[in-house]
C-alpha cells in the first residue's frame, strides 16, 4: 500500500460556491491500477464526487478528463509514473455540469454537423457492397474514434472558436466518410467543410495527436481533407 496524493476539481453548482481544487489522500497499491481505480476508491469515501465511467477499458469514451495537464481517459491512465499530487480537472473549454462532468452538447453538435453516416443512394444489392482490402485499409485510423472528446478539448483553435471550428474529432469523422469507397457524397461533404472556420481554423498544432487515447491522428485526417479541397480547386 502506498499513500497517493490527488488534487481534484470540485464544483457543485447547487452550492453557489466557486469551483475549488480539493486535496485527497488515498491508500492504494498503484501497481497495475489506473486513475479510474483511484477515483472509484475515492468515491467510496466521498460519494458526492461526480464523474462519468462505463467500460473501464478505454473503448467507450466516457471518462475523458484532464490529468496533470493532459487530456486522457482515466481508465487507461496508469497511476504509476504520474507526478503527485495528481491533478484532475474536467476536459477544458466545455461548460462544467458538476465536478469532472462536462456538457458535451457542443462537441456532439459538431459531430452531427458532418453527417457522420454513409451516404449511398444506389439501390441496395442483394449481398454486401464490395470493397477491396486496400480500400478498407484506408479507413484504418479513422473509424476507431470513440468520441471521448480528449482531442477537441485539447485544441487551441477549438478553445478560440468552439462554436465555429468543428474540431479534430468531428473532422476525423468527416474524413472517415470522405475516404470510404462506398460513400457518394464527397463533393457535398467538401462543400460543407470549405469554410474559413469549420476546417481551416486547424493550424496543425497537433495537440489532438498527442492526446488521442486510441493513437489516432486527426491532424493527418484534416490534412487529407485540405489536400482534397486543393485538388478539387485545380
Amino acid at each position: 500500500m502506498a499513500r497517493l496524493r490527488l488534487r481534484i476539481y470540485r464544483y457543485d453548482p447547487e452550492s453557489g460556491a466557486a469551483p475549488v481544487m480539493r486535496d485527497y489522500e488515498l491508500e492504494i497499491d498503484p501497481r497495475g491500477r489506473m486513475v479510474l481505480d483511484a477515483l472509484l476508491a475515492l468515491k467510496e469515501l466521498d460519494d458526492s464526487l461526480a464523474f462519468r465511467r462505463s467500460c473501464r477499458e478505454g473503448v467507450c469514451g466516457s471518462d475523458g478528463m484532464n490529468i496533470n495537464g493532459v487530456n486522457a481517459l482515466a481508465c487507461v491512465t496508469p497511476l504509476e509514473g504520474l507526478r503527485q499530487p495528481i491533478e484532475i480537472r474536467p476536459l477544458p473549454r466545455l461548460p462544467v455540469v458538476r465536478d469532472l462532468i462536462v456538457d458535451m452538447s457542443q462537441f456532439f453538435q459538431h459531430y452531427r454537423a458532418v453527417k457522420p453516416y454513409l451516404i449511398n443512394l444506389d439501390p441496395e444489392p442483394e449481398n454486401e457492397r464490395p470493397q477491396s482490402a486496400a480500400e478498407r485499409a484506408e479507413l484504418d485510423g479513422l473509424w476507431e474514434c470513440i468520441l471521448c472528446g480528449c482531442c477537441t478539448t485539447a485544441c487551441p483553435s477549438f478553445w478560440w472558436n468552439p462554436d465555429r471550428f468543428l474540431g479534430p474529432a468531428a473532422l476525423l469523422q468527416a474524413c472517415r466518410f470522405i475516404t470510404d469507397s462506398r460513400d457518394q457524397a464527397t463533393d457535398e461533404r467538401l462543400d460543407y467543410l470549405e469554410d474559413r472556420y469549420r476546417l481551416f481554423r486547424c493550424h496543425g498544432i497537433m495537440n489532438c495527436v498527442e492526446v488521442c487515447p486510441k493513437g489516432l491522428n486527426p491532424t493527418a485526417a484534416i490534412g487529407k481533407i485540405k489536400k482534397l479541397l486543393v485538388k478539387r480547386a485545380l
Partner: protein, 590 residues
Amino acid sequence: MIPKRTFDAVIVGGGGAGLRAALQLARADLKVAVLSKVFPTRSHTVSAQGGITAALGNVTEDHWHWHMYDTVKGSDYLGDQDAIELMCRNAASAVYELEHMGLPFSRLEGGRNAGRIYQRPFGGQSQRYGGEQAVRTCAAADRTGHALLHTLYQRNIAARTQFFDEFFALDLVRDAEGYILGVVALEIETGEAWLIEARATLLATGGAARVFRHSTNALINTGDGLGMALRAGLPLEDMEFWQFHPTGIPEVGCLMTEACRGEGGYLVNRQGERFMPRYAPHAQDLASRDVVSRAIAEEIEAGRGCGEHGDHVCLKLDHLGAALIQERLPGIRDLSIRFAGVDPVHEAIPVTPTVHYMMGGIPTNLHGQVVAPVRYGPEEPVPGLYAAGECACVSVHGANRLGGNSLLDLVVFGRAAGEHMIEYLRENRYPRALPRSGVERALERLARWDRPGGDERVPRLREDMQRILQRHCGVYRREDLLEEGIGKLDAVGARLADAAIEDRGRLFNTARLEALELENLLPVARATLVCALARAESRGAHAREDYPARDDDHWLRHSLYFLAGDQLDYKPVRLKPLTVEPFQPKERSY
C-alpha cells in the same frame, strides 16, 4: 404531477438492440424516443470484439441450417428451436443490412471472394452438423461491437431519432388491465423525474454481469430492465445460466476475444502443455465457451495453473507474428499491454474464466413481445411491452451462447421487435388513461434515497453481493454452497433498508444512481441463486458438482423466476422449429 412527454414508442437502452429497433420505428415515421443512462455509444455493445456470426460462406462453404445446428447444440438443447431458426435464417440479411448501413467490416484479400466481408473461425461453429470447423464470424478487426454500435447510432442520427441521453428509467407504468404505458425516468443532469408516455415500450437495457465480482462487463451493466420487469410482477427466465468467458484478464476482467483462438492462438497450462485437446479432441481450443471454461477451471484445480498463485492459464499468440496481430487483433494487443502488462507479440497473456454474458432474461416470443403466464398460458404477451438483446430471453442461447451470436441476436431481434411494435401501434392507435399509482411508486423509489438513513453504504453492499455470487455461484455449483449463498444474500438484502447516500445534490447525483442500480442488481442476484439451486442437473454453463449429468427427462425446460415469494415456475422448451425438422437432444461433445 411530473412533466410528461408523449411518443408512439419509447426504447429504454441505447445499445445495439435498442438502436436497431429505434431505426425500424423511426424509418416508419413513428415518434420514437430512445432513453439511455449513458450517451448511446458508451453502451456495452461497444466492447464486443470478435464478430457477428452469419453463414455468408465467404471463406468456406456454409449454410444457415449448419449454423442453426451449432446454435442448438451450443445451447445444450435448451434454446428454443423456432427462435434459433429465425435468427440463423435471417443472419445473412442482417449482416448485409449492416454493411449497407456503412459498417466498416474487414474485407477478404485476393481469391474468388476478394472484397467481400472478412470471416473468421469461432468456437462451436462447424460445417455439416458437427464436421469441419466453419469460418462464419464476420468481423471489423477485433472491434466489431464498436463498429456496429457507432454505425447504428449514426443511422439513427440520419433517421432523426429522438435521444434522451443520460436518462435513467425508474419503473414501468402499467395500468389495471396490464397494459404498459411507458416509463418514469430520471433526467440525470437535472435530477428531475419525467413521465415518458408511449403506447409501446421496449426494454433493451443489456446484461447484469455486475452482480459478480469479476466480470468482462462495463460498470453500467446493472440489469436495470430486469429490475423493472420484476417489480412489475413479470418473471425472468433461465437466470441460472451465466456464461463464463474462458479468456478474461485475471482481476480486471478485460475480455480477450475468442477471435484470439479463432486466428490460431491456443491455451497452455503451467507446463506449457496445450491442454484443450484432452478435453475437446475435435474442436480443441475452439470448443464452446462453457467447455473451455470448465477445462481451465480443472487445470487450475489440478495445480497446473500458471503464475505465482497458479490461478490462471495462458493464451499464446506470439507464434502468429506481429503483422497478423496488428491487423486482426490490434485492440487485444492494446488491452493486454495496458491491463496485463504483457505484449502478446512476445509473451503469452494470463487469462481466467470470467463472467461475461447472461443467457437468461425477460421472456419474449419471436416478435420481442414480453410473455408471461398471466391468465391463460405460459406465454401470454404483455400488451405494449417488448424486450430485446441481452436483457431478453427469446431464447436463442439456451444454456450456453456461442461466440458471435450475441451481436446477431441484437440486430435480428431488435429489428423483429421494431417491426412488431409498428404493427401493434397501428392496431392500438389511441393512448390509454394513465394510472396514478404506477407513477407514484416510481417517485417513491427516488424519494427513498433523499431521506437520511442508517450506516450502511451502497458500495459496500454491492461488493458483498458480488463476492457472494462469485464464491457461491461460479463455474461449478453445489447445493450447500448455493444455499449458503442465498442465506448470505438475504442478509445483504436486509441491510439495504439501512443504506443511505450522503450526496444530497439534485444535479448529476451519481451516488443516487448507484443506489438505484443496486436495487436492480440485488433481485437479479437472487433470481440467479434461486434458479441455480433448483436446477438439479448440469447443462451448458450451469455445472452442478452434485448433479454432473444433463437430465432431459426432468430439466429440458425453462425456469421462470418471480420476485414475489421467490416463486419458481417452468415452461417447456420449444423443440419444434418453424419450417425444418427438430434437432433431437443428444450427447454434446466437441
